[in-house]
Symmetry: C2
Subunit: 156 residues, 2 copies
């Protein structure tokens, strides 16, 4: 049975339905043992939240349901290659596998910035289009020092 | 007046306070016209949400307060260089300037994956540590086609 194709097509159906409700043209589904634990469409414009990409919303929903930030037993299906924001979230969640259909170039043709952001993320911070300014604040070192001394810290 | 240093030190104070409340060792502040509109510490472990980085939470809070996903008039202050997830969110929000203290290498020394994720994001999807599988689903092209025909679409 082609579960990867099945869940990916479900995500595509969800994205199409989402457009008609005012959502962006993206959707994502997360499974655990081939059961759906989270499903979401893009809601950036609907909610006014720039982080409300389908993958981010699905990861947050799955984490809430499974009561853990560790989704290493989960697979994520998404209609389009995750942008750098969602890719980062996938790594932080430890998702084991990502299945997608369209890619960053298809998204660019539809007017989205995914490919441009992939080009920015690899640049030295000082060379980016957005100004990135590193200030030398001696107290900044203390934050990690205090963290390392904190006996109840949980690394993630 | 050194506003950049002032807001960055406020973020550092917030990160230190956050550790003692069970938060991760990171915090972020967003300003508009040199007034704070959002402030957040890392809450990944506290909430079980892998996306609950300080920058993501501050961006969501600022967007909610300002009632727009477009934060192009805002400056983000963060105790540590944003990871790829947060960098993506910064681009999607259109934040005009980012000021930070520690960087991805300091974070790595404290045990965090920021630098490793920066190394993964630049790889071809098929060469990453997490399996990225692109499937050719003909219906995927329809999603963007339907989007482009949707008369009420709002590009972001």
């Amino acid at each position: 049975m082609d579960n990867d194709g099945k869940f990916l097509r479900k995500a595509i159906d969800l994205a199409v339905a989402g457009i008609r409700k005012g959502g962006g043209p993206f959707a994502a589904i997360i499974t655990l043992n081939d059961n759906i634990v989270a499903a979401a469409g893009n809601r950036v414009v609907l909610t006014g939240d720039p982080t409300a990409h389908a993958e981010i919303l699905a990861i947050r929903e799955a984490a809430l349901k499974l009561k853990t930030h560790n989704l290493s037993r989960c697979v994520l299906y998404t209609t389009c290659e995750p942008c750098p924001m969602c890719l980062g979230a996938i790594y932080w969640a430890g998702i084991k596998k990502v299945v997608y259909a369209s890619d960053r170039h298809d998204a660019a043709e539809a007017g989205f910035s995914d490919n441009s952001i992939y080009k920015e993320v690899i640049l030295e911070p000082s060379n980016r289009e957005i100004e990135f300014l590193q200030l030398n604040e001696p107290d900044a070192k203390k934050v990690f020092a205090i963290w390392e001394e904190y006996e109840n810290r949980i690394l993630y």
